[in-house]
């Protein structure tokens, strides 16, 4: 288990402030954040390249803070992979065994197993420069895993690959992670990558933890406007809570009122966050729906994209919906058309505008949820 506790690290003018996170054994934890948010600084502190000013890093109960890199038991795959260009694939893979003085007979079985699983058998005598991007990636992963690390650190290792190859390697890594119960700390700015590979995520913004929790929870219920923006929430509009009754809040947004799950400790002024895929569009003559929020909306614009189309709506406030191409064609979406937009109450997430950021407890995912009732609802969905 990796435990990072109240970590303060300086890197030039940048400072990572009071960062805490926990990665359970056999779990993949993603650290998400835009460029300059402190992801690399955090990784460098775990690696041992930066010495923390405060706080500590423990791995399986051992304090790593003052331990040399080679004694930390880490496997590291950087963005550029760090393959040794002057060594063959075979020598790259055997490097850890040689560096640690492990006899061939002891590490060969695992190496053989991983080489076969990664399909590297016929590449062993090649040099990194002669490999394709995907092959290099596999060599980087196998080399990190063959040293049997207690923690694998991945620094955006798939960033340079095309979409197909990236997804192929996501599957491979997820399979290995589950089969071998790898404990992984993944640093990425790619939400899709984090969502696919990790269970728990930490969002870092400006050197601080902005939100932590299960990926579905963080995705659906961003704790602050900044997190919502970073996670690409399609609709983020100011609103005012006009009443709260039976756990439901009525919120005035633009010229309409929406029903949302009522969070605790929220002021009157809120930001209304709605994911595009949670907006169900129907034709004006569509069948009745059980959704709490049924809005008559006019199509302002359509932006065809893959895999979903983005539909700009005027529903009394600017609303964005994501629909599949067949759905858009079935409804007959076109600019100026009038449609019905249905949004379930749990999908209307309220973010306090004046409330201070929620305090985050180390490793306690349940305490991180901004909306407990909504979390339960999300779990049921």
């Amino acid at each position: 288990m990796l435990e990072i506790e109240s970590l303060v690290v300086a890197a030039g003018n940048f400072r990572l402030r009071d960062v805490s996170l926990m990665v359970a054994p056999g779990e993949c934890h993603a650290v998400l954040g835009p460029s300059g948010s402190g992801k690399t600084t955090l990784l460098e502190a775990v690696l041992g390249l930066l010495t923390p000013e405060k706080g500590c890093i423990r791995l399986a109960g051992t304090d790593l803070t003052r331990l040399p890199i080679e004694q930390r038991g880490l496997g590291y795959v950087p963005q550029q992979l760090g393959l040794f260009p002057h060594l063959s694939v075979r020598d790259n893979l055997a490097y850890s065994a040689r560096a640690r003085g492990i006899p061939q007979a002891k590490f060969q079985p695992l190496l053989k197993q991983l080489v076969e699983a990664a399909g590297l058998g016929n590449l062993l005598d090649r040099f990194p420069a002669t490999l394709s991007g995907g092959e290099r990636q596999r060599v980087g992963l196998v080399r990190a895993l063959v040293s049997q690390p207690r923690l694998v650190l991945l620094d955006e290792p798939f960033a340079a690959l095309n979409e197909n190859l990236r997804r192929e390697l996501w599957w491979l890594l997820r399979e290995w992670q589950r089969e071998r119960q790898l404990t992984i700390l993944l640093v990425t700015h790619d939400l899709a990558e984090a969502y696919f590979l990790a269970e728990q995520v930490t969002v870092l913004l400006d050197g601080r933890v902005a939100q932590q929790g299960h990926k579905a929870e963080v995705y659906a219920y961003p704790a602050t406007a900044e997190v919502a923006r970073f996670l690409g929430v399609e609709t983020l509009q100011p609103g005012r809570v006009v009443s709260v009754r039976d756990g439901l809040a009525t919120v005035e947004v633009g010229s309409v009122q929406l029903t949302a799950l009522a969070p605790q400790d929220l002021g009157e002024d809120v930001l209304v966050s709605i994911r595009g895929e949670d907006v169900i569009l129907q034709s004006a003559r569509g069948a009745p729906t059980s959704a709490r929020n049924v809005l008559v909306a006019r199509v302002v614009g359509i932006r065809p994209a893959t895999p979903l189309w983005c539909v700009e709506l005027d529903a009394g406030f600017p609303l964005l919906a994501l629909v599949t191409r067949p759905a858009a064609e079935e409804i007959g979406l076109s600019p100026g058309a009038v449609v019905v937009a249905c949004i379930k109450a749990p999908s209307v997430h309220l973010i306090g505008r004046s409330a201070p950021p929620r305090s985050l407890a180390l490793g306690s995912a349940s305490s991180l949820s901004p909306v407990p009732a909504a979390r339960d609802s999300a779990a049921r969905r």
Binding site: L47, G48, L49, P68, I69, E70, R72, L74, G75, Y76, P78, Q80, G82, F84, P85, H86, Y95, S96, A99, R100, R143, A144, S147, P149, L153
Partner: protein, 258 residues
């Protein structure tokens, strides 16, 4: 004139300059003088001394420059800027002044003690090596630093996560990847040491068969107005220099490509 033509013209002018200088030797080339110089034991002694001292000085310079350049490339430490600036010292100060400074040092009590208890430098072969070593060290460090700068730190970090100690990572990753720089530093230091004159003559003097290197021999022939002899020795110096550089490049180049 476009950029391509003007840059090629500049390159050709370099050839004309050095080629012209070499061609001018032909005006005073005397076959008998060359033959005599080639057969002279004194010439061969100067050749042995020059090649031996240059090889030793370049080897020592690269051996010290490699770790020093690595420190300058990787670690922030007190005095780093000063060391970096002092690398230019042998270039700024003339070789004769550098030699004079060495002589002055050996006249201090510390220098005296070294000469008495460790090694005699003044007017000796060791003095030739020392003068050349001091002259070429800065260049070797400068070339090697650029070479280490080009090796990504990330590779060393990965090596360390794979269990390598800093020393093991240096010998197995950094040094092999900087081998072109090592080769360049050695060749440059060796060539510079072979042609070194000012510091050598100041520290080691001009004793035939003992401290007389080829450049010193050239100077002595010229000082005695023996132009044919001078040309003959220059040709020996140029031939040895080019031949040695060619062989070194071939040998080390093969090692680099392997």
């Amino acid at each position: 004139m476009n950029l391509r033509r003007s840059t090629i013209a500049a390159a050709i002018s370099v050839l004309i300059l050095y080629g012209g200088l070499l061609a001018s030797l032909g005006c005073f080339l005397d076959g008998a003088a060359v033959w005599q110089a080639a057969r002279s034991e004194r010439t061969w002694s100067a050749v042995r001394l020059s090649v031996g001292a240059a090889t030793l000085a370049a080897t020592l310079a690269v051996a010290l420059a490699a770790p020093a350049a690595y420190a300058l490339s990787r670690y922030p430490f007190r005095g780093r800027e000063l060391v970096d600036t002092l690398l230019e010292f042998p270039i700024i100060v003339s070789p004769a002044a550098l030699g004079a400074m060495l002589l002055i040092f050996f006249n201090t009590s510390a220098g005296d003690w070294i000469q008495e208890h460790l090694l005699q430098f003044v007017f000796s072969f060791a003095g030739v090596v020392l003068a050349q070593f001091v002259t070429v060290l800065g260049v070797a460090v400068r070339v090697l630093k650029a070479s280490f700068d080009a090796v990504p730190i990330e590779l060393e970090t990965v090596a360390r996560t794979l269990g390598a100690t800093p020393r093991y990572a240096w010998f197995t990753i950094t040094l092999p990847l900087a081998r072109r720089g090592l080769m360049a530093a050695f060749i440059l230091a060796w060539a510079k040491a072979l042609g070194e004159f000012g510091a050598t003559i100041t520290v080691a003097g001009t004793m035939p068969m003992r401290t007389e290197t080829l450049p010193v021999a050239v100077f002595l022939r010229l000082a005695s107005a023996d132009l044919e002899g001078t040309v003959a020795l220059i040709l020996v110096l140029v031939t040895i220099g080019f031949a040695a550089l060619y062989v070194t490049r071939r040998l080390l180049g093969r090692a680099v490509d392997a």
